[in-house]
């Protein structure tokens, strides 16, 4: 097993060899000085000008002038003179030649003259990272969490408000959810934290209970994913990032609210710039009773199962608790590394279930699950002149337990009876069980980006993900799930080339990805003989991204990728029990295309307007589905689906007084499978059932009394709409009998008060203001009106 995993990969050496050689020439053995250049940018009347880009061509370094017109560019290594350029909308671009002398820091000030916007000086460097990313050729939404940290929100709640993303939850805090991106969902979307895949990290680290206070940005790549995120992402990728800062700070928050909800988060760092080291702690703790009211739930007699009518009742046994601590230590600005760190993560949760996520007829009083995750990881970054290298390695153990050991049977009225001795049933399964599944993972990756010159850039990446899964049932002696050891190792190699002309008006990037996949499972057959299944496959993906700036206000984008999802272990290897192996199983694949338009303008220096519009196509094939054969069966590539759609949004700001943003998504997702097991598919070209196809969000904010320092008050109103959709095929069945998930319209109100320039913050939120009965899934209700109060202390 290990032998196969550690086998050297020839491809790997071929790709990385040139980079290794170049880095040796560029990197080591030369003694270089690092200097800082800073200064102030003012207009003719000596007023500071914020928001202008100051950058050094060729070194890819820059900064943006702050509210006081100040900028600072650090860590400049150069023996020769270079040009320091400043540019921005509405001012004439300037360029000054700078000669660094030894190790002295330099001060360079600028006095700006108003003028026409000069495209030829346009440069991405110096913008905020988020804006830089929004301007790339990817169909990407970058959600900045800065404005949201005073409110008690999780990453999922923020993701929910962006175009193209739809999240369906089965309850309150910590409940199961399904996220779909332009119609592709579940494991067709991959999650990353600072570029490290979060696959199988366990339910306590999932984004439905991860507070936004611990991160900075959420990047949502739709349909086309950069090679730096090494994974088989069929529909797209979500990368949560924490900006790397070289200073100390502390962000502590605590929320208390409806349903006995208590949540806390700590995000703190001590950084010593002189000595170049830092220590960071991020942590969260969550608890909620989730005892919101359920309306019209069916009551059945406990002994015989007869229907007795519907009742309204507050949930019980829905408590959720989780906690996470991540400790990281590292060094920065060293000769051998720009940044190197080691981190340790421990997270736990316990989730009580009142009912299965897809059925309210069955009620639990004891059924619960637990997760225990331990991760150890190391990261490394270094820039050697034109070559930038990043790498990580991560090892972990994730234990998930599902406990169904109660001999009692419950109903919504809170009544219970004890089952007979001879009845082996649990609350969910037909035999009581306590199943513990342990995943051991090892992931590593190395990325290299080589900037040949200002026009050409090459990048390569290597990512590897090894997972082995085993299981034990402590209670059910007849359960052999996952007792057969199995492992899967995925390796993804990527290469890309990017070109932009001197004018930087447009940019094109092409890329290719090679997916290598091997795995093994050992099971015993009905004759008690050992049977081994092996697979060893490779597949290729490819694509391009492009962008074009047409004038001052418009940007066009186009991107394409042939993306894949590699089969899960049990899909291709079987499970040794009811699922037969299918070594011929192909990966799910999709041809993803995006066309986008961005527009931005400022009016009278007070109004700022931005908007973007995207159309997309996801032409997916070979979806893997289970095909039963009696009680057994196997996974096969059964269906084809096409999703086409349009999504758009806009944002209007009036100084820092008011803002409005809104977006809407329409997706037409149809069944493109011509035949169903040989028979003509009568639902060919029909809308896929049980998937929402139109949803919209809006958020209005106002800061009525804007003060520089003390006492800032803000109000926000958010609203969300999901249009009705049907459980089964829209055109089949009589109208009265159809099972529908009704249209949803919910409103949230928030009020925030900040003191001492954001040091002390208080907020009050009312979610689902109108107390609507909300369903993301058929008959599975979510919480009604809820009130939360948060205090947050921020020291930076």
């Amino acid at each position: 097993m290990l032998r196969t995993f550690f086998q050297p990969n020839k491809f790997l050496y071929l790709i990385l060899l040139p980079f290794i050689i170049v880095s040796c020439i560029n990197g080591f053995g030369q003694n270089r000085n690092r200097v800082t250049i800073s200064g102030k940018v003012v207009d003719k009347k000596n007023n500071p000008i914020p928001g202008l880009s100051i950058y050094i061509k060729g070194l890819n370094k820059g900064d943006v002038s702050n509210a006081n017109g100040q900028y600072k560019i650090e860590n400049i290594i150069s023996d020769t003179a270079f040009h320091l350029t400043i540019s921005g909308i509405g001012y004439q671009t300037q360029s000054k030649e700078v000669k660094p002398g030894g190790s002295t820091d330099l001060t360079v000030n600028f006095e700006m003259k108003k003028g026409q916007y000069n495209l030829s000086e346009f440069n991405v460097v110096g913008k905020s990272n988020a804006e830089e990313l929004r301007e790339t050729g990817y169909n990407v939404n970058v959600l900045e969490t800065k404005e949201l940290k005073n409110l008690s929100t999780d990453i999922n709640q923020v993701l929910q408000t962006t175009s193209g993303v739809n999240i369906r939850q089965a309850g309150g805090l910590g409940s199961g959810f399904k996220l779909s991106l332009n119609g592709l969902s579940g494991n067709q979307v991959r999650y990353f934290i600072d570029g490290i895949p979060m696959e199988s990290f366990g339910s306590s680290l999932s984004l439905n209970n991860y507070p936004v206070n611990l991160i900075d940005n959420i990047e949502v790549y739709k349909g086309v994913v950069p090679i730096s995120l090494g994974a088989d992402a069929l529909g797209g990728a979500i990368n949560i990032t924490s900006a790397y800062r070289k200073k100390s700070f502390l962000d502590v928050g605590y929320t208390v609210g409806s349903f006995n909800t208590h949540r806390g988060s700590i995000n703190g760092q001590y950084a010593n710039k002189e000595k170049g080291y830092f220590a960071r702690v991020t942590s969260f703790i969550n608890y909620s009773d989730n005892n919101f009211k359920m309306y019209d739930v069916p009551l059945y007699d406990l002994e015989l199962g007869n229907y007795e009518g519907d009742i309204d009742v507050r949930r019980k046994h829905s408590e959720y608790s989780s906690g996470m601590v991540k400790a990281e230590v590292g060094l920065f600005d060293k000769k051998f590394a720009d940044r190197i760190s080691l981190s340790f993560t421990k997270s736990l949760n316990r989730k009580n279930y009142q009912h299965p996520d897809n059925n309210i007829k069955r009620v639990f009083g004891h059924f619960h699950s637990r997760n225990n995750t331990t991760l150890l990881s190391a990261t490394y970054e270094k820039r050697f002149g034109k070559l930038a290298i990043t790498a990580y390695a991560l090892g972990g153990q994730i234990i998930e337990e599902v406990i169904d050991t109660s001999s009692y049977k419950y109903n919504w009225a809170g009544e219970s009876i004890r089952r007979d001795e001879d009845d082996q049933r649990g609350e969910l399964y037909d035999r009581r069980s306590w199943l513990e599944i342990t995943d051991k993972v090892f992931r590593s990756s190395a990325q290299a980006v080589y900037t040949i010159d200002q026009n050409h850039e090459l990048a390569a990446s290597y990512s590897q993900n090894y997972t082995t899964r085993s299981g034990t049932d402590y209670v059910d002696e007849f359960s052999t799930s996952f007792q057969s050891p199995s492992y899967i190792n995925k390796t993804i190699l990527g290469g890309s080339y990017t070109y932009k002309p001197n004018s930087k008006r447009w940019e094109v990037s092409v890329f290719a990805k090679e997916y290598l996949y091997n795995g093994n499972i050992v099971t015993t057959d009905s004759q008690d003989e050992e049977v081994e299944e092996n697979i060893d496959l490779s597949n290729t993906g490819y694509g391009f991204t492009s962008r074009y700036f047409a004038g001052e206000h418009f940007q066009f984008k186009a991107s394409f990728e042939r993306a894949l999802r590699l089969p899960e272990s049990h899909e291709i290897l079987g499970d040794g029990i009811y699922v037969n192996p299918n070594p011929q199983l192909l990966p799910e694949n999709s041809y993803n295309g995006n066309l986008g338009l961005r527009f931005r303008t400022s009016i009278a220096e007070n109004w700022d307007f931005r908007s973007d519009l995207n159309t997309f196509i996801r032409s997916s094939n070979d979806f893997i589905r289970f095909r039963p054969m009696g009680p057994f069966g196997q996974y096969e590539n059964i269906s084809n689906v096409r999703s086409t759609g349009i999504e758009g949004g806009f944002e209007i700001r009036y100084n820092s007084f008011a803002s409005l943003n809104a977006n809407a998504t329409y997706q037409n997702i149809t069944d493109q499978t011509k035949k169903d097991e040989g028979l003509e598919n009568v639902n060919y070209n029909s809308k896929i059932p049980n998937v929402p196809y139109f949803f919209a969000n809006a958020r209005f904010g106002i800061k009525p009394f804007h003060k520089e320092t003390d006492g800032n008050l803000s109000f926000y109103w958010s609203t969300r709409y999901v249009h009705e959709f049907f459980l089964t095929w829209e055109n089949l069945g009589s109208a009265e009998s159809k099972h529908v998930i009704p249209s949803q319209l919910t409103h949230d109100l928030e009020a925030e008060y900040s003191l001492k320039d954001g040091k002390y913050n208080f907020s009050l939120s009312v979610n689902n203001l109108t107390n609507n009965i909300v369903y993301d899934n058929f008959r599975i209700q979510k919480p009604g009106r809820a009130i939360y109060f948060k205090i947050r202390y921020l020291l930076q």
């Binding site: 579940g186 007869n306 996520d357 199943l435 059910d476 499978t673 003509e680 069945g733």
Partner: protein
């Protein structure tokens, strides 16, 4: 049975909502209090349990007057079901019972306006996988069959008119902890004051292996006072375990009160190991509780014969059956759509003859609900590799007539409500 209780991962997926690998079995129907009771347009004509193609293969209860011409579909019509269902008619009530997380059973009948509507519902813990009825058609019998381990199987007594569960009796039917064997019932046949429950002996591990395939077993209970233990278990070594996984007709009752059982034993029908005994039919005469030693209809070796995969009683001592023309398709292949080797025949149970039904092609059929016999005709749904049609069979002449095209996957059963 079919898709239920797979690896724990699939169960965890459905409950933890993390992986979207399985098609979603869903929550309950709309409730009668909140919404108008769903109905189909009219109950005149034939009611059918219809399954469409693609994705979740949703099911609908539809009605149509003419099923011999044109096409049958659920376009804009039909009572929508929430998942894969068993369908079992008792008199003029049709029961639709769910599977996996769709743990509800509902009864449908014609109302005063002649429209089909839901009369009532109840829930159960494990899927009800075997069905039967009382002689007077006032009681539906249904049984929960947990597949692994030595637990009770629960027999439900349901009042057909009110669709309410009256009583539940737990019984093991048969088990041997030393041999690791449990019973898998293949019929619930009531006659007078007895309940006959034929069964397979399966390995208690739940993998459906049949280590004792070469004998027919029937547990005989008192009825209606069904006890926790059967009165006795009768055996016959002329043929294999009675019945086939998923079929409710392991036993049928003729007009004269004789009970007939069929035995298959084929690998394609899920027997592992396959039986060495010939496939055929045994009889328990009216008034007796033992197999008739002078009756064995060896269907496998009869002219036009083969291994019986399913049968149902028609009238005048005749039964309709599906016969596997060979057993080389592989394990459980009769439940798939890769091998089309089932042929439709009429059996004369007294004369012991097999007559092929003309005009009906070889097909594959994994599950049928009990048949409707009307004016000497019976209706079946026949699916070949590329087509699905209704066929009407004339019982006396064993001739088949092709009827309407099915715009969907299959029709599980035809009923008159």
């Amino acid at each position: 049975m079919f898709i239920n209780n797979q690896s724990k991962l699939r169960k965890i997926s459905s409950i933890l909502f993390v992986a979207a690998l399985t098609t979603g079995f869903t929550a309950c129907d709309k409730d009668d209090d909140d919404d108008p009771t769903p109905t189909t347009k009219s109950s005149s004509g034939i009611t059918m349990s219809f399954k469409t193609t693609g994705g979740d293969e949703s099911e609908f209860i539809i009605s149509k007057e003419n099923i011999m011409e044109g096409e049958i579909s659920a376009e804009g019509t039909g009572i929508e079901q929430t998942g894969w269902r068993f369908y079992y008619p008792v008199g003029k009530t049709l029961f639709a019972s769910g599977y996996s997380e769709d743990n509800q059973c509902a009864g449908y009948a014609s109302n005063a306006n002649g429209q089909i509507e839901k009369k009532g519902e109840f829930i159960f813990d494990n899927a009800l996988e075997m069905f039967g009825k009382s002689d007077d058609e006032e009681t539906l019998l249904a049984m929960e069959i947990p597949r692994a381990g030595f637990g009770d199987k629960k027999l439900f007594f349901i009042d057909v008119n009110t669709v309410q569960v009256k009583r539940i009796v737990g019984t093991k039917i048969f088990q041997s902890t030393s041999d690791s064997l449990v019973a898998w019932p293949s019929a619930l046949q009531v006659r007078g004051d007895k309940l006959f429950v034929p069964f397979h002996k399966l390995d208690a591990n739940g993998y459906f292996t049949t280590p004792r395939a070469d004998t027919a077993f029937v547990a005989v209970y008192n009825y209606p006072n069904v006890g926790e233990q059967p009165e006795k278990i009768i055996t016959d070594t002329r043929t294999s375990n009675i019945g086939v996984n998923g079929a409710t007709s392991g036993m049928i009752e003729a007009d004269n009160g004789d009970i007939y059982s069929f035995s298959c034993g084929a690998e394609m029908a899920g027997f592992a190991p396959a039986s060495t005994k010939p496939s055929g039919i045994l009889r328990i005469n009216n008034g007796s509780t033992e197999f008739d030693p002078n009756y064995f209809f060896n269907v496998e070796e009869a002219t036009n014969g083969g291994k019986i995969f399913w049968f149902e009683y028609l009238e005048n001592g005749k039964a309709i059956a599906r016969i596997l023309t060979h057993d080389n398709g592989g394990a459980w292949a009769a439940f798939g759509r890769d091998v089309f080797n089932q042929k439709l025949v009429i059996l004369d149970l007294e004369a012991q003859t097999v007559t092929d039904v003309t005009n009906v092609p070889l097909h594959a059929k994994r599950y049928s609900s009990p048949v409707l016999v009307e004016d000497g005709k019976v209706y079946v749904s026949v699916e070949t590799a590329s087509e699905a049609h209704v066929y009407q069979v004339d019982i006396a002449t064993a001739t088949g007539t092709k009827g309407a095209k099915i715009n969907g996957k299959t029709i599980k059963g035809f009923y008159k409500l």
